[in-house]
Subunit: 108 residues, 2 copies
DNA sequence: GTCGAAGTTTGACAGTGATCGTACCTTCGC
DNA sequence: GCGAAGGTACGATCACTGTCAAACTTCGAC
């Protein structure tokens, strides 16, 4: 047992803050995580990213991204999956992710 | 005389870096400066902004904004004018300033 | 020339955040 | 149960950055 949260807290779109989102995106490692999620179009477990930091540091980055509203996290067995909250971000800050991820990457 | 630079160095559009721009925009005071420039549509001297910091701190913020390419600075008498490099930013990172300044503020 | 207004420079300080190693906790497979 | 894999929690560094005060510079007005 243990009172561990299977599902950590996620902010709602109405709670997104520009300051917090920018603080999350200003770190190159975190931008890389977002870019990899955006490029793949799939959910990726924490260990599935190509980032040059230790596991504990990675955990920290995922936490920052989740609390800012950029990703959603959920467990699948022993793995923690990460999902980009594209639509939510586009709703809260239209154009921001596109501007940061370079070319708009139209997907209609 | 004095070897003081009447015109400090400004990066060219081709030299703009996303990392540097984000580091500049992550500070609320600097975002406020950019917003005031964008809203006014005019050039504003350093002392003409509504920001809650000392003069020396303000100088620092203007330097960061200039080196990132967000503003252009030039002297007019004893005043240092600040000009938003809107077009340059839009060219380097389309949509970024609009996304950060909230509503696109169409000006056709 | 002298004074004041407008900024800059310098140095110091405090807070924050990225980073890591180690220990710990779950879940899966056997 | 046991072990391993995948992450998390906890401290502890360490560098960077925002902040200010004080001293200095430069230009304009008189």
């Amino acid at each position: 047992m243990g009172a561990m949260a299977r599902t950590p807290p996620h902010p709602e779109v109405s709670e997104f803050g520009l300051q917090q989102v920018l603080e999350a995106l200003v770190d190159p490692v975190r931008r890389s995580i977002v870019a990899q999620l955006d490029a793949s179009g799939t959910d990726i477990p924490c260990g599935g990213f190509d980032i040059p930091v230790s596991k504990s540091t990675a955990t920290h980055h995922f936490t920052v991204l989740r609390e800012a509203g950029l990703i959603r996290q959920y467990y699948v067995g022993t793995s923690r999956m990460n999902s980009l909250r594209r639509a939510d971000m586009d709703e809260a800050f239209p154009g921001l992710l596109d501007a940061i991820n370079g070319q708009p990457v139209r997907k209609t």
